[in-house]
């Protein structure tokens, strides 16, 4: 089973990039959209040809067959290769196909992963072949492909495994939120403590702890924060109300953080804020994985 949704890739610039792998729900949603596009194109072509080709019924028959052939085999290959790993459905769901090593999808890669689709979609093609097969030989309920996505660490279907490709989210969907408490808490005053400032990794720890505060129960969070808060108080030779500290250790930690780290700065807020609004404008299908 996949334990992490992250895929780390080292770039030629010697920096490690993290991509978020796309799970089966997003991928099925993207495929469903693609399938409806294919259906619309097929119907559209049929209507258009029936107007144009009244005198050449043979040509209409042949062209419709070619359209069907293209939709069955060429649609995903062409889009993914020429549009940097995206099909219309993937684009709307914010997904992209790329090679495991971070390189963009190659021609043979696109070909392999989309031809082997025919092995990934097997149970449905076999079971419903006579019903759905009239229009296409498959519909978006993959059997083998789904199992493969579930049981491989990088969530790949068979076609992905052979072609060495992964499907990733173009942008992260879940944003870490800054704890609201920073905006409301008072910084420590100078005369309550000595001049030593805590090390930066301690401040980072506080920041991460408070950011994840909502996933802990109050009692457990209180317990965890208590030790750190008392240790910090010793170090800073805090002269304020020790009882208050014992009762609200998390508030004390937040005060320390605000005093020394002043987070988040206006600049950071601006950068992250602009990013937030951009992500929000992306159409995202909210599906629980």
């Amino acid at each position: 089973m996949a334990l992490s949704l992250d895929l780390s890739i080292e770039t030629p610039e010697n920096v490690v990039l993290r991509h978020q792998l796309a799970g089966p729900a997003y991928r099925l949603a993207a495929y469903a959209i693609d399938l409806s596009f294919m259906f619309l194109v097929f119907i559209g072509a049929a209507i258009a040809l029936s107007f144009i080709g009244g005198h050449t019924p043979g040509l209409v028959f042949g062209t419709m067959n070619l359209v069907k052939f293209f939709l069955e085999w060429g649609y995903t290959i062409t889009f993914e290769y020429f549009w940097n790993g995206r099909t219309p459905g993937k684009y709307l769901c914010g997904l992209r196909v790329m090679h495991e090593n971070g390189q963009p999808l190659s021609w043979w890669g696109a070909l392999i992963r989309n031809l082997i689709r025919m092995a990934d979609n097997i149970p449905l093609a076999v079971i419903y072949g006579s019903l759905v097969g009239q229009v296409f030989d498959y519909a978006p309920i993959y059997g083998i492909g789904l199992l493969s996505i579930w049981f491989t660490p990088k969530m790949q279907r068979l076609g992905d495994l052979v072609a060495r490709t992964v499907v990733v989210h173009e942008r992260r969907t879940a944003l870490p939120r800054d704890p609201v408490i920073y905006d409301h808490i008072e910084p420590l005053s100078r005369d309550e403590m000595n001049g030593v400032s805590p090390p930066s990794d301690t401040l980072a720890l506080i920041d991460q702890f408070l950011a994840r505060r909502p996933v802990l129960t109050y009692a457990r969070g209180h317990e965890l924060a208590g030790d750190l808060a008392e240790g910090l108080a010793e170090r800073l030779q805090y002269t304020g109300d020790r009882k208050h500290l014992k009762r609200y250790p998390m508030a004390f930690l937040a005060r320390v953080y605000v005093t020394f780290a002043k987070a988040p700065t206006e600049q950071e807020a601006e950068l992250l804020g602009s990013r937030e609004s951009r992500t929000a404008s992306q159409p995202m299908v909210e599906v629980a994985l």
Partner: protein, 362 residues
Amino acid sequence: MTKQRFLDQRGKVWKRFDKLLQKQRGARFARLTPREIAEFSRLMRELSNDLATIQSRDWGQGLVVYLNDLVVRGHNALYRSSPDRWDRSLDFLLVGFPRLFRQNFGYFAVAAALFFVPFVASWIAVQNDPTVALRMVDAAQLDMVEQMYSGEDTESEDEDETAETSEMDSSETTGDAKDADAITDSTTEENDDEMFGGNFADQRAGMAGFYVEHNVSIALQCFARGLLLGLGTMYTLLSNGLGIGCITGYVLAQGHGERFLSFIVSHGSFELTAIAVSGGAGLMLGDALLHPGQRTLLDALRHRGIEAVQIATGAAVMLMVAALIEAFWSPSPIPAMVKYVVGGCLWLLVAMYLGLSGVRRT
């Protein structure tokens, strides 16, 4: 360097990079001026450096994610597939594909045996005792086949039309493709006049589209399902071999040999060979799973997969050639003798193409 000073210094640069990214959205660098392109490349390296710095400090996850996404977008824009070299596709067909085919000849040999042995067997069986055919193919289909090649056009137009359509439907639904295809071949020869009522060129063009869709789909499925330990491929090869052999034997037993053979001899060269070639590619996938050798299972699959898909692509192109021959040449009113000669030449051509094209001179 504190977080604050870092942000002061670098924030402007990040925003500039974001702006450049937005300007060349979709990785269209033509939208940027030469100076901006140079700047983009420089900023990409600078931001990579910044990201590495931030990843090594504990300055909050939000900042890391923000910069990571910026660099990912830059990376996607900067690193693309090698530019399209479509002139290479001819090179692939004339040199690369035949070479790969010869390197993996064993798989083709097995696939060909899986296809041609049942083909010949059912041909002989049916020709000796035509009633055997009923066990493999519908009586209605056999009637139709016989009628196509008997040259007696006794049926009315309407009946022919319905017969043809229902037959096509069944070929779609059963997936038992080639035998139905063989019937379609013969059907069209006689009945296109009734079916489309247009001129010869129009009917031919129509059937060409049908043959491309039908035959290439079968070949590619035959290839892809080889991934299931080769079982999917074997099923396709065996069932098609039996079906086509059955039809052939039946038509010959009814005494319409010349019409039938002169029809299929030309395009059969490309079509039957290509089915076996794509079957061989499918068996390569299955064999990679069964005998990975010194490699891990996945590695073996990937290594053979890239070769197998190239061979399958070659087979698909061969089938498109076959579809054109089948649609435009095979049904044309030309003396059977000429068709046999041309067909023989085509078989020779296919053999030479796969056997000799791209051989290195020593």
